[in-house]
Amino acid sequence: MGSIITRAKRIRLSRRLTQISTLVLLNLGFLNIWFANAQMGALRGICSPVLYCHSCPWATTACPLGVLVNFSRLQIVPFITLGILGLVGTFGGRLVCGWICPFGLLQELLHKIPTRKLTIPPKLSYAKYVVLIVFVLAVPFFWPKAPYTFCDGCPSSVIESTIPWAFVAYWTPTPGLFNGFTARFWVRAAITLAALVFVVLVSRGFCRVFCPLGAIFGLFNRFSLFRFNLAHKKCNNCGVCAKLCPVDIDPITQMNTAECVRCHECTIHRHIHMGVR
């Protein structure tokens, strides 16, 4: 029992460290404060495989969903972004959701707020595919000027871009940095607030219901290079892994489905382990 607790602590600690390290790496633009010639924003031509808004003042790389939306708007194929998403997805599926996504980290921290927790029906998870097809691909492609794309309602964008730019505009008033508290701002703020309340109540709610990036990586979960395997001889169906799972799936029966974010919580018993097989 002691070894299980130690293993669980070790997994959680290493996951937190990875998530925080990624957050720092995605914000290398802060080096521009001390090193004026650092030009860390120059890498924004390439996307990182996580949901992190490129409009953040410190962002190092571009957001893949932002690139997909913009390229759909321009009606051209984003070969580099598709290649990066394909490579990362083939390597580990939704491993990035569980281990390196900063918005996943925020959701996990918010879910620690002690309130009544809810479970959602599994069919609601199909909504993220609708979001991907409609708001990331179709709307910007057919109506390029319409302000109803995924980026226009993305809570990550409000937290990482709109609010920081509002502060920057307050301290160094520059026209064009912040459009002010317009109706559009309040709509986006309301969507963000609703999303944050939702993730407080539902564990990893945004990943499960809305995240189009999770929908893309989920397609790779079944056949990715690294995936979960079950040691049938060791498992005694105790159900502990199902209770630990943050996305409310049964790891024994629904192993490697598109919903699994590969957080490794279910591996503390060593009955489930990740491998190439």
Binding site: R44, A62, I80, L82, G86, T90, F91, S161, T162
Partner: protein
């Protein structure tokens, strides 16, 4: 079971090579014309983040924030032909005759001919050295690309 796993691994290798090839192909050969200039996908991604590239009504990609001087000049529609005569040789014969006439015409001294001299122009006001010049109005800068807070 082993065969299925081998097939999966082979599929993964093929998919990874395909994705890596897609990145390499884009970096090496894919260029989109923005204002007529070939632009890489990397640059287009950078431009699109600040809404500095959009598709115009005629279907071409343009940079709405580009200054006029930065826009590449469209090549002239008239194509120079090898058999076109040089400009010096195109001076017409009538023009040559007119030039000869001007050269041969004697200059006339109007005062000597008894005609009134032309009225003098009013002298220009001298600038007061103590007076400071009026400050120049700032020229409005063209709308440039900026970070997008959306």
């Amino acid at each position: 079971m082993h065969k299925a796993n081998a097939a999966r691994l082979l599929g993964i290798v093929v998919l990874m090579v395909f994705c890596a090839g897609m990145i390499g192909y884009s970096a090496r050969s894919v260029r989109y014309p923005v204002d007529g200039a070939p632009t890489s996908e990397f640059t287009i991604t950078n431009l699109s983040l600040t809404h500095s590239v959009e598709r115009a009504a005629d279907g071409k990609l343009t940079n709405p924030h580009a200054e006029e001087s930065q826009r590449p000049v469209e090549p002239n529609v008239q194509v120079a032909r090898a058999d076109t005569p040089k400009p010096a040789a195109t001076v017409s014969a009538t023009k040559k005759v007119a030039m000869k006439k001007i050269k041969s015409k004697p200059t006339i001294n109007k005062q000597a001919a008894g005609k009134k001299p032309a009225p003098k122009k009013p002298a220009l006001k001298k600038r007061d050295p103590k007076k400071k010049p009026a400050p120049k109005k700032p020229v409005p800068k063209p709308n440039r690309a900026r970070a997008c807070p959306t």
